[in-house]
């Protein structure tokens, strides 16, 4: 029962503690509040200290919380400990009491037991049954008392046990309650701690924000201040710079003005100086002019030698210059000359080539023409023959008339139609022959030209011979001689007549030479001047001679020609004169002849000589005769005959058509005949079969 009483005393322990702890926490809160109250006082003087103190307060609060809160739990534990220790002491006490009680009980029961045992010993002395009964009863009583004692003790112990059990159960309940309390507290603590931490966090955040704001504002202010200062400085500098710029501008203007003034002054001075100098110069010039004039006016006193010498020098200089120019020009000219000669040679070569070619082509053309002529003539003749044959057939067979072969002179002919002139002018032929021989003898003549002087003596005789030969009308041997001699004479004539063409210098240079050599040189120079090559020399001679011949022929044949009136007159005048004189007297006509030759020559240069010849041949041919010839060929069948032919053709065609019809009819009749025959055979067969059947049937 004591335990029951004590327990309630202990029970409020934790509550008290709780109260105490709450008091403590309240104190702490008060402290905090006090601190907070103190804050505003301190805030004004020092901000930072306040923040620090705030921080300190906060941290202290947290610390106190951390310290106080677990203390509550610890208090419960300690209370439990205290209770446990108390319980132990009580238990010990109870144990001791119990042990004492048990010992007492054991003692008393042992005493009683001893009494009972002692009684048993006295029981032997008792003899009387009553005494024994009494003793027994007494013993029984004693033992029952002992048993009662024991039972009592047992009951007591059992009761104690019960109480202990109850207490244990109570303790357990209390423990459970305490545990619940503890858990509650722990949860509360957790809550409060959380709150505290949150508050602290918020506080710290706030402080941090404040600090950052303060820092920001201060920084901003500082920044603005510094910026302002910087801008002010910049402005000052700018102003200074502007001022300086203005100053410098002014200075520059001043300097410019100064320099301009100076320059102007200097220019003026220079101009003046220049003017002065010009004036001086003019004066000097005037002076020099005057002196010159004086000098010119009075050359002698000055010294003629000087003047002459000067002039000489000038002339020499000019001479030298001219010489240089001359040499350079000469060089140029020589170069040009060389180039030109080269070009000329080249052109001449080309010309020769082209001439050759043209000659070749001309010959080929002539040949071809002849061949063509012949061929076509043959063909035409064959055609004519056929026509004639057909004609004869038509006449003989168709018309039944006698046919006569028409007269055809051209049939007997063949080849080219030769011009009729051949017979007309044998002299011309001779001339051409002479020309040909001369062509052949071109090379010979050249040697003759070089050996000219030797033949010169025979010149007279040759000319006569020429004359003879020409009058006779052509012996070739004589002609050759003549030509050589004639050449000579012609050459000499040329030399003499054309003497006016030579320069005096040339003649003077030739003077030392012999006459023959002179002539040769003259001729060569002449030919070179005329541009006549050595080959053409004979031709020249021939032309000249021809010229003479023509005149003579004119006189002889009395044919009307368009010759020169002067020639006619001359010829008329000198017709009776001897040939030799006439030849010699021809000198006057030599020039025009030469002229004409040269003109011809110039022309013939462009057209080669041989071609010239062939042209002459072609030109001689009479194309009208050709036409007539060919027309006579075509007119073998006359117009009447053609009409007859056409009529005959139509008739023959009709006849032919009829004939073809007949032939067709013949084939038809043949087939019909065949059919007829077949039908007949069939009929016969059929008849035969009918007869047989009739026979059988019958």
């Amino acid at each position: 029962m004591e335990e029951f009483g004590k327990d309630p005393e202990e029970a409020p322990g934790p509550e008290n503690q709780q109260e105490r702890s709450s008091l403590q926490s309240g104190e702490a809160d008060e402290e905090v509040h006090e601190d907070v109250n103190e804050e505003p006082h301190n805030q004004q003087p020092e901000d930072k200290k306040v923040e620090e103190s705030e921080k300190m307060v906060l941290s202290q609060r947290i610390l106190t919380l951390q310290r106080e809160l677990p203390e509550q739990i610890r208090n419960i534990q300690t209370a439990a400990d205290a209770k446990e220790s108390m319980r132990r002491t009580e238990q010990e006490k109870a144990c001791r009491l119990r042990l004492e009680l048990l010992e007492n009980d054991v003692k008393s029961s042992q005493e009683k037991f001893g009494e009972i045992i002692g009684e048993w010993s006295t029981a032997n002395q008792k003899i009387t049954p009553q005494e024994l009964q009494e003793l027994l009863n007494n013993q029984q009583k004693l033992s029952s008392a002992l048993l009662d004692d024991k039972k009592r003790v047992i009951n007591e112990l059992q009761q104690e046990l019960k109480v202990g059990d109850d207490r244990y159960v109570k303790d357990l309940r209390k423990h459970a309650e305490e545990l619940g309390l503890m858990m509650e507290r722990v949860e509360d603590q957790i809550k409060t701690l959380k709150m505290a931490y949150r508050e602290e966090l918020a506080h710290i955040q706030r402080i941090n924000q404040q600090e950052s704001e303060v820092l920001l504002t201060t920084d901003k202010a500082e920044w603005e201040q510094r910026l302002k200062a910087l801008w002010d400085k910049e402005l000052d500098r700018l102003m200074q710079r502007q001022e300086k710029v203005e100053e410098y501008n002014e200075k520059v203007e001043d300097v410019v003005l100064e320099t301009r003034d100076q320059f102007n002054d200097k220019q003026l001075g220079h101009n003046e100086k220049l003017m002065a100098m010009v004036r001086e110069r003019k004066q000097l010039e005037a002076a020099s002019m005057s002196t010159q004039r004086i000098l010119t006016v009075i050359p002698k006193p000055d010294g003629p030698d000087n003047l002459i010498q000067r002039k000489l020098r000038l002339v020499r200089k000019e001479m030298l210059n001219l010489k240089a120019q001359y040499s350079s020009q000469q060089k140029c000219i020589t170069q040009m000359k060389r180039q030109l000669t080269d070009r000329r040679n080249r052109i001449v070569q080309q010309h020769g080539h082209t001439q050759k070619k043209i000659q070749h082509f001309a010959v080929a053309d002539v040949k071809k023409f002849e061949q063509m002529w012949l061929m076509i003539e043959d063909e035409v003749k064959q055609l004519v023959e056929r026509v004639l044959v057909l004609d004869s057939i038509i006449y003989k067979q168709h018309l039944g008339l006698a046919w006569e072969r028409p007269h055809m002179a051209f049939m007997g002919r063949s080849g080219l139609i030769q011009p009729q002139k051949q017979t007309q002018s044998p002299t011309h032929q001779a001339v051409t022959q002479v020309i040909r021989t001369q062509d052949l003898q071109g090379s010979q003549r050249m040697t003759d030209a070089s050996v000219g002087p030797m033949l010169k003596t025979d010149a007279e005789s040759v000319t006569t011979e020429v004359h003879k030969a020409e009058s006779e009308g052509g012996a070739e041997v004589e002609e050759r001689k003549l030509s050589n001699e004639a050449l000579k004479t012609v050459m000499e004539l040329l030399c003499d007549e054309l003497g006016f063409l030579f320069e005096e210098k040339f003649l003077s240079q030739l003077a030392p030479l012999e006459e023959e050599e002179q002539a040769v040189m003259k001729l060569s120079s002449l030919f070179s001047a005329f541009g006549i090559s050595k080959r053409e020399v004979p031709r020249l001679a021939q032309v000249l001679l021809k010229h003479k011949n023509q005149k003579r022929l004119q006189t002889e044949d009395v044919c009307v020609e368009t010759g020169n009136s002067s020639d006619k007159a001359e010829d008329a005048g000198a017709s009776c004169m001897s040939h030799v004189t006439s030849e010699h007297m021809d000198l006057n006509h030599l020039l025009p002849a030469l002229k004409s030759f040269l003109e011809q020559h110039m022309r013939s240069r462009e057209v080669p000589a041989s071609q010239n010849l062939s042209f002459q041949c072609e030109a001689v041919r009479d194309t009208s005769e050709d036409q007539a010839y060919w027309e006579s060929m075509s007119n073998v069948i006359s117009e009447d005959k053609v009409k007859v032919w056409e009529a005959a053709e139509s008739k023959i065609k009709q006849y032919h058509a009829e004939l073809t019809e007949i032939s067709e009819l013949i084939t038809e009749t043949l087939s019909l005949e065949q059919q007829n025959a077949e039908l007949r055979v069939l009929l016969q067969q059929y008849l035969q079969s009918i007869v047989f059947t009739d026979l059988e049937s019958s």
């Binding site: 322990g13 310290r67 610890r74 300690t78 205290a82 220790s85 002491t89």
Partner: protein, 439 residues
């Protein structure tokens, strides 16, 4: 009007209608080409599916390993996964599947360690001697020995007693022979087979009790038998890595304590010994005192035992010479003034002890006065607890005076000591200032 022929047609040509009914319907409306997984992912998934037949893990790259860990089934046999799969998501999944509360911070932030420790604990806690085969435990040893650092065993089941046995018990309660027999039959799991094999074990928390016994309560369920004690002692001796040993609520008497301490002498690694809530008396305390100077113990906890003045004197004697012990807890004992004085005097010479708990020890004024001397003089003591002792006003004053000289004590519990309010607040203030200074 226009519908009727259509309907007729529909009825007439059911085949056609059926054909019209057949439409290509997308089987998965959410299907897009984007969702089609990569081939590598598919491969990994097939790895996961066939992990039991062909475990491929170490060849993979870290990211692939993560993927595999995410996908592996937690029901895979442990002998496959234990040494193959490294600490990671897989073990986290395993843990969270088995237990609701998983605070990985208590396990060195290793899910694997957590899994294996708790798995081992479960096995041992559910081990029933003579009916469960030892093989079940031993099979696990090679798998988890590398990961288990702590075993916190909250119950050890006794062997199942047959109904006949109960009768025997009832019959032969008095006979000592029967008792012995029964003791044998009440033996728990034999740690001898296990501890020497767990090469990484550092902490062992043992409680010889049964959780949730319900109406089958028997005192014997909450006891450690002699044989248990013997086997445990030798097992502890064989476990050379053990640092912390806690044996709570296991009914350890002086005899068992002697036995245990005898085997723990000169243990190479033991740092903390905790025999809280037992029945250790003066003899056991003497043995522990002997152990104090024959080991490197730093923490000794004898909370809630039955140590009286003799045992306390023995402990004080050892404490006076001990250079290692930092914390001594004698809460809820019966030390008394003699023992308390002895301990306080020992502290005059000790320079290592920093935590002392003498709460609920029947200590009174004289002890506090000697303690006050110690407090005034000693600078290593940091926390002192003398709550639940009848110290009286004078003791409070003495302590108050001593605290005014001390600068090291940051915790001092003087609740329920009968001190004056003033002295308590002063002491608290002094502690508070000390604490602030310490910070």
């Amino acid at each position: 009007m226009s519908r009727s022929p259509y309907l007729q047609g529909a009825t007439i040509n059911p085949a056609e209608d059926f054909r019209r009914m057949r439409r290509i319907v997308a089987e998965d409306l959410d299907w897009t080409l984007v969702i089609v997984p990569c081939l590598s992912k598919l491969c990994l998934q097939s790895f996961i599916r066939n992990f039991e037949e062909k475990p491929i893990f170490e060849e993979l790259s870290p990211t692939q390993r993560d993927f595999v860990q995410e996908g592996l089934s937690t029901s895979l046999p442990l002998n496959l996964t234990a040494n193959l799969i490294s600490d990671g998501v897989f073990w986290k999944r395993c843990c969270e599947e088995r237990w609701d509360l998983c605070d990985v911070s208590h396990y060195g932030h290793s899910w694997k360690r957590m899994f294996f420790e708790r798995h081992m604990e479960n096995i041992i806690e559910l081990f029933i001697p003579y009916s469960t085969e030892e093989k079940t435990v031993l099979e696990m040893v090679p798998l988890c020995k590398n990961y288990v650092k702590r075993l916190n065993i909250s119950q050890l089941l006794p062997p199942i007693r047959e109904p006949e046995g109960e009768e025997e018990d009832e019959l032969g309660l008095d006979s000592p022979y029967q008792n012995e027999n029964e003791g044998q039959s009440m033996d728990h799991f034999n740690f001898k087979i296990l501890l020497s094999k767990l090469t990484n074990l550092e902490e062992l928390h043992l409680v010889y009790k049964v959780n949730q016994c319900g109406m089958n309560f028997e005192w014997q369920m909450f006891e450690m038998t002699d044989k248990d004690c013997k086997s445990l002692a030798s097992a502890l001796k064989s476990c050379k890595t053990l640092k912390i040993l806690r044996l709570h609520e296991s009914h350890i008497e002086d005899k068992k304590c002697l036995l245990l301490v005898k085997h723990l002498l000169d243990h190479p690694s033991l740092r903390e010994l905790d025999f809280s809530h037992n029945l250790i008396g003066d003899k056991g305390a003497r043995a522990v005192a002997k152990l104090l100077n024959k080991s490197q113990l730093e923490t000794l906890n004898l909370y809630d035992n039955d140590i009286r003045d003799h045992g306390a004197k023995a402990l004080a004697h050892a404490l006076a010479k001990n250079p290692t012990l930092q914390s001594l807890n004698l809460r809820l004992n019966r030390v008394g003034d003699e023992g308390g004085q002895a301990i306080a005097n020992a502290l005059l010479n000790n320079k290592t002890l920093s935590h002392l708990h003498l709460g609920a020890n029947k200590v009174t004024e004289p002890t506090v006065i000697t303690l006050a001397k110690v407090i005034a003089q000693n600078n290593t003591l940091k926390s002192i607890n003398i709550s639940c002792n009848c110290l009286g006003e004078d003791g409070g004053k003495a302590l108050e005076e001593a605290m005014s000289y001390n600068t090291s004590i940051t915790e001092c519990d003087v609740c329920l000591t009968g001190m004056g309010e003033q002295s308590v607040s002063f002491i608290n203030q002094a502690v508070w200032t000390n604490k602030k200074n310490a910070i």
